[in-house]
């Protein structure tokens, strides 16, 4: 008996001494991992001042401050380990923080978290608790309506704007915990919500707030806890509803046939709900000087109608500061939108260089600017070789509630725009936000996509099936009556 015990004791001692001796290495593991994978942005000391920090927005987290946006704990509290695991594994949408799920093992992520927590001593004593989050109530028209009411009652628009496009009157003054400017969330783009875009995620953020940012917790507003919770669910459903049908990321913009008036004057009153609106992501142009690392415009949404000799494009994009351009008029750097087509269209596979083409494959670029009522056209052999050219294209834009809407009218009967029905026409977009100092090559750009004038559907498509249906029905009636007659006999 005692011999067994001694053996066990010896083994335990051995294991213990190995653990004690190797503990510095165990801890060093998290640190080494951090230095390898995180320090580029978050800095060697975790102060959010790595060499890449100046090129990203929002700025990397300063781990020495202990403020974490994405948590399941109450406002002002530290996050749970689970929250940190989620952030590291899945990344933070709409920011430079990537997902490490595939790059690191579960235990490596845990080691890393242990190290990150050691950078803020309060983690040792803190015992944060998760807030209670019940099941997601099903969306209903009433709930969304209620949410809309609360959106106004809670004055979410002060920062997030009336239409949720992040252009509220307080938006330009917002600062994070380090005093750097910070943008409110654009509710029409939930795929960029930092903590996820599902209704439950939105509810969680409303419940916990985002530490280190201006976003407060919307809890305790109604004395009744149940009512308080219901108000947040309603609000969450309403916020989610602001992006219904989006994002519709596609690489083909299908222009629908429309026989009516396609002139600019009637452009706003066309049945745009029937046209498919395609969302195209834009990225900052970082290939040639002057480069744009932090673009203000990251999405354009395009829909189009055409008829025999006309094409009308509707291009919409959110711009938090478009009203500034309207007010300051011609003195300020304008907002602008460009689209380009290859000058010569050959096989689809041979696309010109996406930044303004090249010597051998030029593009034609049409540009609308907020300070100029005509559409400007350039023949480009690269972004530095621009040549003025006449154009028959016309444009008209208006700005409303954080969004520009540009109608662009192209006559199709000219050599300039000789697009044929069913043909894939390469097209790409770029945008510049004057308030963000964007001009010239310093703008955000899309990849090449295609514009297609869809075959106008034949009117006979309703006729033949109708004939068929009536014929079949008639035939059956005859058979039925024949059968009845026979039974009577």
């Amino acid at each position: 008996m005692s011999r067994v015990l001694w053996a066990i004791r010896r083994e335990l001692l051995l294991i213990l001494s190995i653990l004690i001796l190797s503990s510095p290495f165990l801890f060093a593991d998290g640190k080494a991992l951090y230095e390898k994978k995180c320090s580029q942005c978050h800095g060697i000391e975790g102060k959010g001042d790595g060499f890449a920090a100046e090129f990203v927005s929002p700025k990397p987290r300063d781990f020495t401050l202990g403020t974490y946006k994405i948590r399941t704990t109450a406002s002002g509290e530290l996050p749970l380990d689970k929250d940190l695991v989620r952030t590291i594994s899945q990344g933070i949408p709409g920011t430079s923080m990537p997902a490490f799920e595939k790059a690191l093992s579960k235990s490596e992520i845990e080691e890393m978290i242990r190290y990150i927590k050691s950078l803020f001593p309060k983690f040792q004593e803190a015992k944060p608790e998760a807030v209670k989050i019940g099941g997601v109530p099903r969306r209903s028209k009433e709930l969304v309506e209620k949410g809309k009411e609360l959106y106004n009652q809670f004055r979410c628009f002060e920062c997030h704007g009336t239409a949720g496009r992040a252009d509220g009157p307080s938006a330009p003054t917002l600062k994070d915990e380090k005093g750097d400017p910070i943008l409110p969330a654009d509710f029409t783009k939930p795929w960029q919500f930092r903590g996820g875009g599902e209704v439950k995620d939105i509810f969680t953020r409303l419940t916990t707030g985002l530490n280190g940012t201006p976003m407060p917790a919307f809890t305790g507003i109604f004395p009744d806890v149940k009512e308080d919770e219901r108000s947040r669910w309603a609000l969450s459903h309403y916020i989610k509803s602001l992006s219904d049908g989006h994002p519709n990321f596609k690489s083909v913009i299908a222009a629908q046939y429309y026989a009516g008036d396609l002139s600019l004057n009637s452009s706003a009153s066309l049945p745009w709900n029937d046209a498919e609106e395609v969302d195209l992501p834009l990225e900052g142009q970082v290939i040639q000087e002057p480069r744009l690392f932090i673009p203000a415009i990251d999405l354009v949404s395009v829909a189009a109608f055409y008829k025999e000799q006309e094409l009308l494009l509707r291009i919409r994009w959110n711009d938090r500061t478009g009203h500034a351009q309207l007010k300051q008029g011609k003195d300020s750097l304008p907002d602008s939108l460009s689209l380009q087509f290859p000058l010569e269209r050959t096989a689809v596979a041979e696309l010109p260089y996406f930044l303004g083409g090249s010597e051998s494959k030029p593009v034609q670029m049409l540009t609308w600017s907020s300070n100029f009522d005509k559409i400007d056209k350039k023949i480009c052999k690269g972004l530095n070789a621009l040549e003025n050219a006449p154009t028959s294209a016309e444009g008209k834009a208006n700005f409303d509630q954080g969004q520009w809407t540009l109608f662009l009218h192209l006559p199709l009967n000219l050599k300039e725009f000789d697009f044929k029905t069913g043909e894939f026409v390469p097209i790409s977009f770029s945008a510049g936000d004057g308030s963000n100092g964007e001009a010239g090559a310093k703008r955000s750009v899309s990849a090449w996509v295609n514009l297609v004038l869809q075959q106008s559907p034949s009117k006979m498509r309703w006729v033949w099936p109708s004939f068929g249906f009536v014929g079949a029905l008639g035939g059956e009636m005859i058979l039925l009556s024949l059968a009845r007659k026979r039974r009577k006999q």
Binding site: M1, L5, T67, S75, G76, E77, Q153, F154, R155, E158, C159, P169, S170, T173, L174, K175, E177, G209, N211, P214, M215, P216, A217, F218, T219, G220, I221
Partner: protein
């Protein structure tokens, strides 16, 4: 085998007992210091301001129509530096910095109030005791978020979207000073000082302060101003003594 169990149980018992003893000790320490009113002393005085008093900075309120309406011309006078008509300074926190070590004082139960009124904090500078309730009121028909940014205490940031809302918070650690702000209205800012004793005062319109009911002794008195920084003086008070102390902040020390 049994021997080991006995040892283990004994160890557990020993640690358990020790733990109990500790918590009992803590309880004893928590009992508060009683100040003998018959021997208590007072330190009082004024916070003077020397130099040319520039006019208060005016803040133009534009982003919220409700706030603009609450002030003539949509302008609010900044409270960063307020020089009173008698050449004293408002919003200076005067408190005992040293000399009360080892003493415990009963928490003030009465709530201190921060009123959000006219899109402005009333008061601009507040001092409370550790764990003293702080009632945060919204008297405005607009959204305020009250955002505290402490370094020692836990922070909070919650919304009060309706008039008449009130929330009570406490701070469980001593901290000088905790900035508070409203992110919706970027001009709204204030400070809360959290102290472990009740010997503090914030100067008002006459720039005076009084620290009453002090046990006789030697104290370091500190005066804090958000722009002019801190000044301190050592003051000795005997039984029943009332001493007058003056601090002078100078313009240009900003």
């Amino acid at each position: 085998m049994r021997k080991y169990f006995v040892i283990a149980a004994g160890l557990l018992f020993f640690y358990g007992l020790n733990g109990c003893k500790k918590s009992e000790k803590a309880k004893v320490e928590e009992s508060t210091t009683m100040v003998d009113a018959t021997t208590a002393a007072t330190i009082a005085g004024k916070i003077k301001f020397s130099g040319a008093a520039s006019k208060a900075k005016m803040i133009q309120v534009t982003s919220d129509a409700y706030c603009t309406k609450q002030h003539a011309g949509g302008q609010i006078a900044s409270e960063e530096v307020v020089v009173n008509s008698n050449k004293t300074l408002k919003n200076v926190l005067v408190y005992v910095k040293k000399g009360l070590e080892g003493k415990k004082f009963a928490t003030i139960k009465e709530a201190a109030v921060i009123n959000q009124h006219g899109c402005w904090y009333e008061p601009h500078v507040l001092a409370v005791m550790v764990n003293q309730p702080v009632k945060i009121l919204n008297s405005d028909e607009t959204l305020h978020n009250i955002h505290s940014m402490p370094k020692v205490n836990s922070g909070f940031n919650f919304a009060q979207p309706a008039k008449g809302m009130e929330t009570t918070k406490t701070f469980d650690k001593e901290e000088m000073m905790i900035p508070i702000k409203c992110d919706v209205h970027s001009w709204m800012g204030g400070y809360i000082g959290v102290l472990s004793h009740p010997y503090f005062a914030v100067t008002g319109e006459d720039g005076s302060f009084a620290l009453k009911n002090l046990p006789p002794g030697e104290y370091q008195i500190e005066a804090w101003h958000e722009k002019f920084g801190v000044q301190s003086q050592t003051v000795k008070v005997a039984e029943k003594e009332s001493k007058t102390v003056e601090f002078t902040f100078k313009a240009g020390a900003m």
